[in-house]
């Protein structure tokens, strides 16, 4: 089994060390979300096997997905409506591009590729527009549109800092679902980024966040709806990829 990841930046999934838009582990600096995926996969597979350390992982950036955007499936304009909520198409198109890249990679390495697409559901730029579930669902629809069964949507609500904060706040792991109602905007009154920095005692770097995931966070105890849904999806897909055909 092999992993193909895409995220938004160094402090979530990670980034290529060079300016490249696609890289494998030689050039890839994994971020905390990748370490979460790695840890969960070991748990689901039932044995110690880090995809990061064993170089079973590739990464593509957001701009890579934009450049490899897929042709529309239908000729008609994709109109928003009852069946297509606002602020979702970007996620849908990103999922399609990632699915196509994952299929090509699977062909090349002759192995099953689990593709994980990470996006914050409410980043600074979206400033509260759109709903978390719609965004997640649109990614799943994007994987489906390309007929890809091994795609996983990783969409924290409102953003990755909320998941990490759950483990380090006062009363860790308690009442974390409330964090999902905070604003994802870094310019809001008490942004999650700042709350995380306060809880950790300093502005966190990628490596300190990685260490946090590797050594500190107990993913079993992290109970937040957006995290549990992701965890469940990943488990299903890993089991499918492990046992199923490509």
């Amino acid at each position: 089994m092999y992993l193909l990841l895409s995220g938004e930046g160094p402090t979530d999934i990670g980034a290529c060390g060079s300016v490249a838009e696609a890289c494998d582990t030689h050039d890839f600096n994994a971020g905390p979300m990748t370490w979460i995926i790695d840890k969960l996969m070991e748990a689901f597979l039932g044995y110690d096997f880090s995809h990061i350390e064993n170089e079973r992982l590739s990464f593509v950036s957001e701009s890579f997905l934009a450049k490899t955007r897929q042709r529309p499936l239908k000729k008609a304009l994709a109109l928003r409506g009852k069946k297509k909520p606002a602020e979702t198409k970007y996620y849908y198109e990103n999922a399609r591009s990632l699915a196509v890249a994952a299929k090509a990679l699977a062909e090349k390495i002759e192995d099953n590729v689990v593709a994980v697409l990470f996006r914050d559901s409410d980043g600074t730029a979206s400033a509260g527009r759109g709903h978390w579930r719609d965004k997640r669902d649109s990614m799943i629809k994007g994987f489906e549109a390309e007929d890809y069964n091994f795609g996983v949507a990783m969409v924290p609500k409102p953003k990755s800092e909320a998941w990490l904060l759950c483990a380090v706040k006062n009363n860790p792991y308690q009442g974390c679902e409330k964090l999902e109602n905070e604003s994802g905007n870094d310019k809001s009154a008490n942004p999650l980024k700042k709350q995380l920095a306060v809880a950790l005692g300093s502005h966190p770097s990628t490596s300190s966040l990685n260490a946090l995931v590797q050594e500190h966070i107990d993913l079993e105890r992290l109970k937040m709806p957006s995290f549990e849904l992701f965890k469940n999806d990943l488990e299903q897909v890993v089991k499918l990829a492990e046992g199923g055909r490509r």
């Binding site: 957001e62 701009s63 997905l65 934009a66 450049k67 955007r69 304009l77 994709a78 109109l79 928003r80 606002a86 602020e87 979702t88 198409k89 970007y90 198109e93 990103n94 591009s97 600074t124 730029a125 979206s126 400033a127 509260g128 527009r129 759109g130 905007n185 310019k187």
Partner: protein, 388 residues
């Protein structure tokens, strides 16, 4: 080409600046101020023509309707920046008194060089560099006269043609040839009229005489354009009726059968398309259309948009239709799609839509219209506010 327009104290436009491209498309929620922007541009154009009373009458407005109710200021200030070939970037600014409807202050300049100045009831004409000259010298160097007559709008509307050579002539030409068709209505397009004087009329009521005056060649060009989308169309004709009234009619064929239809019974879409295409061939330099998609079948939108984008004239449209936007090339959309929104105080503001980071990002994976329809516009102003 007009590069930007700034206006202050015109309805909801308070300290409002609009960037303009060769093709500009205004989008925004209902009530954001799209039509007001068109009205403001028409107002600025009318300043170079004078006779603001008539302009107000056509729109059924009072002088009291034009200033903003959001501020206590009295005068309406404006600044227009335009590129005039062989002259450069010309700036025309002024201040309109709302009671007399006259520009009590006015200036036309290129960089530090002034070409026209009106202040304290005096008009100065001539080219001089205001940076290297004292106020006293300035007064002695220029052709100067005390304004002893009543007029409305800009002094440009009153100067004789030998007083407005070069830059002033080009400026007046460019601004007076802004043609706003913000009230285009199918009912008015069906009217019979006598004379158009090269103008379609604000609601399009002079279409029949406008087409009549374009002559045989004009009608044939228009017919050939329309035939691309209405294959059954054989000819566009105009008839002179009693007392000089002009009637517009078309001939179509269905199989062997020929069919004549007068404007009164023509379909809305064809009439609108006729009005728009005929304007692209008129002597206007800048055309404004409100809600360009009205009455136009989706199948015809690409045809229409391609014509507007490729036109030699500067064009601005407003739209609510994602289809209109989706037929724009990404580069045209980045330059020309302007999002209008209202601040919490009710002021209209403009921002190029694809300069907003989330919108630029989306444009990388979808069409401009899809970005527009996918975006929750009711909250977009928050992201714009965060940018500032």
């Amino acid at each position: 080409m007009i590069k930007s327009i700034w206006i202050d104290n015109f309805k909801s436009l308070v300290n409002f600046e609009l960037p303009l491209s060769k093709f500009t498309c205004l989008v925004g929620l209902n009530g954001a101020g799209k039509s007001t922007v068109l009205q403001a541009m028409d107002f600025i154009s009318q300043l170079t023509v004078g006779n603001l009373d008539e302009w107000l009458k056509i729109r059924n407005w009072d002088a009291a309707d034009i200033n903003s109710k959001l501020t206590k200021e009295s005068n309406i200030e404006f600044k227009v920046v335009l590129d005039i070939p062989e002259a450069g970037e010309v700036v025309w600014s002024g201040s309109v008194n709302r009671t007399t409807l006259r520009c009590t202050q006015e200036r036309v300049s290129i960089g530090p060089t002034n070409y026209l100045k009106v202040e304290d009831g005096q008009c100065y004409l001539g080219k001089y560099n205001s940076r290297n000259i004292s106020a006293e010298q300035e007064k002695s160097l220029l052709e100067r006269f005390t304004i002893m007559f009543e007029y409305q709008g800009s002094i440009l509307s009153q100067l004789k043609s030998n007083q407005t050579e070069g830059v002033l002539y080009s400026l007046k030409g460019a601004i007076s040839k802004i043609q706003s068709l913000d009230l285009l209505s199918p009912e008015l397009l069906r009217n019979q009229t006598k004379l158009s004087n090269g103008q379609l009329g604000i609601g399009g009521q002079k279409l029949s005489s406008f087409i009549h005056e374009s002559g045989k060649e004009g009608k044939s060009t228009l017919k050939n354009e329309l035939k691309n989308v209405y294959s059954q169309l054989d000819s566009i004709d105009t008839k002179s009726l009693r007392a000089g009234w002009k009637q517009l009619e078309i001939t179509e064929h269905y199989g062997e059968q020929k069919l004549k239809t007068t404007a009164r019974h023509m379909n809305d879409g064809m009439l609108r398309l006729m009005a728009i295409l005929s304007q692209l061939e008129s002597n206007s330099e800048f055309l404004l259309f409100d809600e360009i998609e009205n009455g136009i079948n989706p199948e015809l939108i690409e045809f229409l948009i391609d014509h507007l984008v490729k036109s030699k004239k500067q064009v601005m449209v407003t739209t609510h239709s994602p289809m209109i936007l989706n037929f724009l090339e990404d580069e045209i959309a980045k330059q020309g799609v302007v999002y209008l929104y209202k601040t919490e105080k009710g002021f209209t503001k403009a921002k190029k839509l694809f300069e907003i980071p989330s919108q630029a990002k989306k444009l990388e994976v979808m069409g401009p219209g899809e970005v527009f329809i996918d975006t929750d516009l009711t909250h977009l102003y928050q992201e714009i506010a965060d940018l500032q």
